[in-house]
Amino acid sequence: MSASLVLILVVATAYLATHLLYEWLARRLLIVSGAEYLVLGVLLGPQVSGVISREAADSFGPIIVLGIGWIGLTVGMQFYLPRLVRITGLTFRLAVIESLVTLSVVTGVLWWALPALGLTSKFWAIVPALALGAIAVASTPSGLDIALRDRKRREPVVNQLETSLGVNAFVAVVTAGLLFSWVHRAPTTALRPPTPTEWAVITVGVGVLGGTLFHLFLGEERKVDRLVVSLGGAIILASGAAAYLNVSPVLATLVVGIVLVNTSRGRAELRTVLAEAERPFYYVLLLLAGLSWRPSTSATAVAVVALYLVTRTVSKVYATRATTAWNKATPQLGRDWGKALIGQGRLTVALALDYARRPELPIGDVVFTAALLSVLLTEFAAARLVRAALLPIVEPLRDLAHRLPWVDTAEHTAETEIPRSESGATSGVFVPHVNEGASTLFGPEVDGPPAALPEQGSTDQRTPEASR
């Protein structure tokens, strides 16, 4: 049986199984669906059963690159400037500090640990350490998406989480993109190999060109068919060009997304088109990630993976706690909103795949394994982590308790009907209506501006009640 046929059968079966089984599980146990495809990929791949051979798995390369590009685009699509400017400086500050602290802590610890464990030389350790740092910053919005889909999001803590998820995604993609520009191997065909700065400019240039081409191509048309052709063309061209140049397809398509969302008048149609293919695309990417997985030959790799998981979790929880306290925002946000950022999902998978597909970079297998394990361990629990983050401030925000009835008792969970989304899926079923961060800044447009934290020292020191 051909590898393509196996893949189609597996995706179709898994998809149906998800509908039948995980819908039920998600509704009752708040389990987020997605990571099972990763396991399925590993089980079918050359490392376990060998149903799909290494050659066959490699032949899916274009789909992987396209999937990576697709995710970059959905991340970029959330950065709609008119919405961004309505977010207060304090909200941004908290989000940026948390992102940079996580990036620095994880990178620093692994930069020290990798040579100490004998996995790389001290000189080269910065590359995988920085890659893991970038990957660590990314968080999945799945939990938040499940908890708050179809509901207005005007509470400060929810707004903070949405902003943080978007900033996390941005920092992760930009860091990875710059890293790939920095360590770019010189092409033999060029007269003078471009410098890292030039590669970074080229990456952004590919994105700008892709976005401009889409805009020029689409013109004033609003037909969905035409939108599909132009969107498909722009993503495929930008991802392909970036991958061919060996720069970051995620960063290039992130720029495409930013250009599109800020220049196109058909944002709503674009979202519809993206949403239609989003979920299946993610599942296929997870499956292919599982197929591509290669275990590390070094036993010390386990220590690196464990260190990554621990450092990231500690950093996310305590960096947010400290930053919030330092900015005197604990009354509005609570101490533990960082827990809602622990879950990892599709952007993590995309960044890890992007790193692992470059044979010239060190310990790709270890970086990939760490990222996949993190997704495996945290994505299932993403919704529960959000609940854990929101619980301490439910009391002051009584209204939130009505909107999230499951936070009161476990029994409520089984009884609560979760509303249907536009595509007909129940909101508790699937993670990924939107990308990591995509349900955030870009997310559902509510009536009026999003709630914001009062700026430190400003006269608007409203209580949570008043801020509603």
């Binding site: 049986m1 051909s2 393509s4 046929l5 189609i8 059968l9 995706v11 179709a12 998809y15 509908h19 390369g61 274009p62 690159v65 396209l66 092409p187 033999t188 065909t189 060029a190 471009p194 080229i202 590919v206 060109l209 401009t212 081409l213 020029l216 191509f217 013109g219 969905v224 068919d225 599909v228 052709v229 132009s230 498909g232 063309g233 722009a234 993503i235 495929i236 061209l237 930008a238 991802s239 392909g240 060009a241 991958a243 061919y244 140049l245 060996n246 239609e276 293919a277 979920r279 299946p280 695309f281 597909r357 595509s423 007909g424 899926a425």
Partner: protein, 432 residues
Amino acid sequence: MRRVIVLIMLYLLMQAVLPLGEGTPAALVLMAFGFLILGAYSVGELATTIRLPKIVGYLVAGLAVGPAALNFVSTPVMEQLAPVSELAIALIAFLAGAELHLDEVRKRGVLLVKMMTAELSVSFLGIVVVLVSLHRFLPFLNGAPMSEVLGFSILFASIAVVHSPAVTMALLSESGAKGVVARTTLGVVLLADVAVVLSFSGALTLARVLAPPPGGEGIGFVTVLWEIGGAVLVGAALGAVVALYLRFIRRELFIFAILVAFFGAEIAGLMHVETLLTLLVAGFVAENAGGGEGEHLRHAMERAGAPIFVVFFALAGAKIKPDAVLQLWPLVIPIVVVRAAGIWAGTRLGAWWAKAEPEAAKYTWMGLISQAGVAIGLSSVVANVYPERGEEMRTLFLAMIAINETVGPILFRIALLRSGEATPASFRGGGH
């Protein structure tokens, strides 16, 4: 003007990226795919401004960026993109089958069968006669005994009579025409597709008997029977599954549409049954047993398939070898002319026999000239069985297709305009 700017930007992008990159072949294929979508689509839109069908634009774009000219899409890249063409053919076949409504078949089935029979028979006979007459000048028949000449002429004619469901579907989708000429043309094309698949299998068997291929590998009647009968069975089973999905699940149709086509093509290959027929039957069953939901799937399939169709036609254009066309020009012209004359005469005869509407009698033949993927696919099958002669035959086919696939859409457009079933505005605002 905007289209020209897009094309200039695409050209500059490719000129800048190709020398700088050393990425994997997969990345190059992906980039070429995206380039073809945007580039061919833009040329297709430019074509409408000079009153040509978009498909002609796609073909011209393919020819311009293919190995014959700019070489942005090289031969290895085209080989890597072959699955796209297979997927497009599967989508086209499924959509074509889904266009056949049971009511329509009941009402107009006899008429369509009569027209198709007359048209295929007359054009088939005409091509056999011209090939036998010209056999001394044809590289693959020169010096062959008369039995072989006859066997290969029949084999050639069985492919040469084929039409292009892809072009027909694309132009109907582009124009939105639904009148009697549109429906008759589509019906004849689809029925002829099934008939050609059947007759081609028979002609290949006959050729193998009259001129055994190198290695003496034969093909049995049972194999042929399975290829055809099995395709109907597999297609019906696939169509039933799709119909059940449409009745009870109805979700994610965008991706489901692609999966169905891909799965259908894969399963047909795996079970050694005729791919086109399998998908055609699957589409027919899904449409007519889907509880009225088939239309949603068709829309999803058209939407998901739009970029794939653009690339499919562009790749078909890129495969055209202008030098081969020029070399074989003196031989190709008589065959093309006789085929067109046969189609015209056969359609008129069939229309008289079936008492078809005057518009159908007058204009249907103009929609039957196009040839594309199916003809290329069948000629590739011959090239596999007869490596040397089949390859020569394929070159002749490519030269012939180059003319038919350029002239055919233009003629069909004229037919739809003159019959009043489409307007120039409907072509400009069409789907793909």
